[in-house]
């Protein structure tokens, strides 16, 4: 009997850029999808061997166990500063940070804003899941008004706890930013768009066109207390209205970029 698994029949496999390691993410978490997209893009651009990733503090603290390139592990929120330090001494390398919303939009707000303002030639993959996954589901700077978390048990009260921060919009006001977009990982069509954006972001860096960031709306089934499928629906119904998808900054040179 002929086997079905022949090279001609393979339509889906682990990209070279992902290690052969089972991830530590919960079932339904979209960190894994984001990792895969980054890995595919780095492989397609043929830059895995000259890329340095910077992992954050958060659920993706061990991103380096899964994405197969040189990696550093930053202090909580400081990845953009660390990336700056690396990129300035190794300008011909591809340097990216991979950060959650607590890491980037809360404790690391200073580092990200100034890296963008300086127009650092780095790429930032920003995972917005509206919650602190790693520490057990506390309120994040991106938690939606009324959303229940372990530190906003009766729902985020904007009078006492303030409003969610829209990072893509905020960073897009900075002249150093070359490419700032928001995408979502809740269905295949959006995942394809996300991949295209990640590719563009890394191309922006390759062509030294300034700071690039792709914000990815992501799920956290465990933190949200929903099933994986419910989480995808919840993302679409609640997160997208609060964090509209779109291109927030495409500088002129980036717009002229042919990929």
């Amino acid at each position: 009997m002929a086997t079905l698994v022949t090279p001609e029949n393979i339509v889906y496999k682990r990209p070279v850029g992902l290690t052969d390691t089972v991830t530590t993410y919960c079932p339904g978490c979209t960190h894994g999808i984001a990792h895969r997209l980054v890995a595919e893009v780095l492989e397609e651009m043929n830059v895995l061997d000259r890329t340095i990733g910077i992992a954050p503090v958060g659920c993706s603290v061990f991103a380096y166990n899964f994405i197969d390139c040189d990696f550093l592990e930053a202090a909580h929120g400081r990845a953009p500063a660390m990336a700056t330090g690396v990129k300035r001494v190794l300008p011909d390398r591809i340097v990216f940070t991979y950060q959650g919303d607590g890491d980037m939009a809360s404790i690391g707000m200073g580092e990200i804003v100034h890296a963008a303002a300086r127009g650092e030639n780095i790429t930032v993959i920003f995972i917005n899941n509206a919650i602190y996954g790693m520490t057990g589901g506390q309120m994040a700077p991106t938690t939606l008004p009324g959303m229940k978390t372990t530190s906003s048990p009766s729902g985020r009260d904007v009078e006492a706890q303030g409003y969610p921060i829209r990072m893509a919009e905020m960073l897009s006001t900075l002249d150093g930013a070359g490419y700032i977009v928001r995408r979502s990982l809740h269905d295949p069509a959006n995942i394809r768009k996300a991949k295209k954006a990640i590719r563009t972001a890394f191309e922006v860096q390759k062509h030294a066109l300034g700071f690039s960031m792709v914000e990815l709306l992501s799920t956290c089934s465990t933190g949200w207390g929903l099933t994986p499928v419910e989480s995808l629906t919840w993302l679409e119904e609640h997160m997208i209205p609060a964090f509209p998808l779109g291109d927030y900054k495409i500088s002129e040179p980036v717009a002229a970029l042919k990929i």
Binding site: I54, D70, L72, E73, A81, G85, G110
Partner: protein, 372 residues
Amino acid sequence: MARELLKGNEAIAEAAIRAGLDAYYGYPITPQNEILEWMSKRMPELGRAFVQAEAELGAINMVYGAACTGARVMTSSSSPGISLMQEGLSYIAGTEVPMVLVNVMRGGPGLGNIAPSQGDYNQICKGGGHGDYHPIVLAPANIQEAVDMMPLAFDLAEKYLNICCVLLDGSIGQMMEPAELPEMQPYPRPFNQPWAVNGAIGRERRILTSIYLDPPEEEITNLRLLKRWEQIQKNEIRYKEYYLEDAEYVVIGFGTAGRIALSAVRAARAKGIKVGLFRPISLSPYPYKRIEELCAKTQAFLVTEMNAGQMLEDVRLAVRGRVPIRFYGRLGGVMPLPDEILDEIEQMVKHPPKAEDDPAAIWLHRMLETVK
């Protein structure tokens, strides 16, 4: 090379550049601004990396990133800024990568003032950041010594994969003195250490991290750091001795306090008092053994610092009650005058302290009476 009249901070900056500095990241704070300013002009001029960071948090984490690539990297700051850097310093120690920190102390605590102080001895020598680690700390007493320390600091940091701090105060940073700068090292200095994270071209990929989730693995990491620290303690003790051959009394002071004490010791010698000076240069590792040896022929020690007796505790650890100690400190940015230390030497001779005395407590009560 000829001796020139140089400002401390600028001389330190230029010496680092000549030692092959690849990157400087910093944030303005008095009294060390001239280092950052010098770097902002010279580093781009030479095609090397310079960033004025958004804060010391950013600066130290930029240093962390560059250190992981194997580049020669440094930052400089002063007390409040060094406090802010402690997180990064702990991560750098935990990742076992080399860096140089120039720490120009000022009066504290809090915002304090910009006057010279030695109030951050404990902070830098005893850790400051979380976890079990030891930076190497070198304390110059003049500009030439500071200049000579810069290449040494990089060499030590790289040899032991350790933080190396050059610890001074605003007076050395701000004063001008004749000094000779080192020769410019050939540049670029290729860096491709076997641990460096710089892109996996033609090799297996590498990861640098300070997270060891498995406690036994973290314990092994801690032991590895301590093993290296043991080597540092064995090999890298530095100090300078003055008039100790026939000394019956020994003054101990580091950096500026040691330098002022030297004038006092000379004045006391002129009055016939057999006194010498022991000036620790490596504060971490500390020259415990040498002080222990000095106990054999010393009648009493006078420890003098620009703080409330932080190094005094290390001296007491070395002396272990064998010889009485007197302490004299000035605080908060006030510098001791040579006459004050001379007076302290004379008092020590006239009214010998007792071995069971608590020198810091006695000093404090004297201070509370005289400084009102």
